[in-house]
Symmetry: C2
Subunit: 215 residues, 2 copies
DNA sequence: TTGCTCGGTTAGTGAGCGTTAACCTCGCCA
DNA sequence: TGGCGAGGTTAACGCTCACTAACCGAGCAA
């Protein structure tokens, strides 16, 4: 509950390092001693801040899931207030998701890799948030491409998530272009994919509504 | 080395169940007793067939990496022999990768999730095969879209892999359309993504060379 | 000062789990 | 018939590792 620009509290510091380590070597591959060492305290001192290792992972995954979902909802409401076209709303969703993927690589990695190390209740919660987030996208996609059947729209959304979340999986991020180039590229890829999903199935042919790219 | 249509040997049976279990609950989340139970023997009996749990994972990951790479190479040579255009070669690569992704979901999941549980030497080997596979694609993509810079081409390839490999991550595969619909959809998505990657950066605008889709 | 809480420490414990040891029993070949 | 290797079994070992116990020093309020 700390206000946003405070110096990072101990808890947040621990969560940050834990996220990094979990993403690098997997939840089971990291010991509590290492997490402690990463923030300058050692081992069981962590238990002053968290109930256990599981609790850290849970807080990370619930946190990122909530941030994604809330961010998505905000896109929709803001787009609605501004009276934007569906295609522009979809662009906003893509944009925001790319920001997450590039800024919080570790969390994105955890989000689709360590989900099933959670206690049942937490896993249910995370999955529900994921599902809501997906449905948010599906709704917009189907506004943009009315002819696309729901199942295909949903599969497309999952596929585009896989596309957008691909960069954190890179072993050596130096292989990527700089951030703005990468973001622009991912955006083009995602838009192109959605447009192609609808090809031959609706007449509106598409997603180049925003800023006339070539073609 | 058993010929393809033999009844599955014990080793293969074990590998199959191990792959399924590892994909479902993670390498560290599965005990040797469970793997044994899945094939009707119990616990340490596995050590008559494998040096250890690590060896199973290694064989799985090296195996799938080699199959992917060899399959990719075969696409290239066959396309060259048939005198196909680069765009058609890319289609063949996509097609084959989709087959892998849909038929060997468990292996695909392991392939980008459990890589770093391997011994150094095995991990090096797998990474090298992965890299070669990627470069195969990068070469073809750059033939199809000559203006696309190499780094962006490589990032696009990674992203499209993420896209194509997205279906195994689904918690409940029943949410997907039937196989041929899914395969066709994924193919359209991938082609659309590559085409969009090059938009505004080359003049050739394109991947609709194969079988004129709409638009 | 007294005393309490907050955030550390080190030592220890107990469970889980990969692996090994020792033993058994078929089927097969000489 | 005798032996032997392939493929099982159960029991046990030992290590790793999350977590707990017990203790401690600084700040700070009454």
């Amino acid at each position: 509950m700390s206000s946003r620009t405070d110096a990072p509290t101990r808890r947040e510091q621990i969560l940050g390092e834990a996220a990094r380590l979990f993403a690098e070597r997997g939840f089971h591959g990291v010991g509590v001693d290492e997490i402690g060492a990463a923030v300058g305290i050692s081992g069981p001192g962590l238990y002053r801040h968290f109930a256990g290792k599981d609790a850290m992972l849970a807080e990370l995954l619930v946190g990122i899931s909530e941030r994604l979902y809330r961010g998505g909802r905000r896109c929709l409401t803001e787009s609605a207030e501004a009276g934007l076209a569906p295609a522009a709303t979809l662009d906003a969703l893509v944009e925001r998701h790319i920001d997450f993927a590039l800024d919080d690589r570790a969390l994105i990695t955890l989000h689709d890799r360590e989900l099933d190390r959670l206690r049942d209740s937490d896993r249910k919660l995370v999955r529900q948030l994921q599902r809501q987030y997906v449905e948010l996208w599906v709704g917009v996609v189907r506004e943009v491409h009315p002819g696309l059947p729901e199942k295909e729209a949903r599969a497309s959304v999952h596929a585009v998530f896989g596309l957008l979340n691909s960069t954190p999986h890179l072993s050596r991020p130096s292989a990527l272009p700089d951030r703005v180039t990468t973001a622009a590229l991912l955006h083009r890829l995602a838009r192109g994919a959605f447009a192609a999903a609808a090809d031959g199935v609706d007449g509106t042919d598409g997603a180049e509504g925003a800023d006339g790219a070539a073609l």
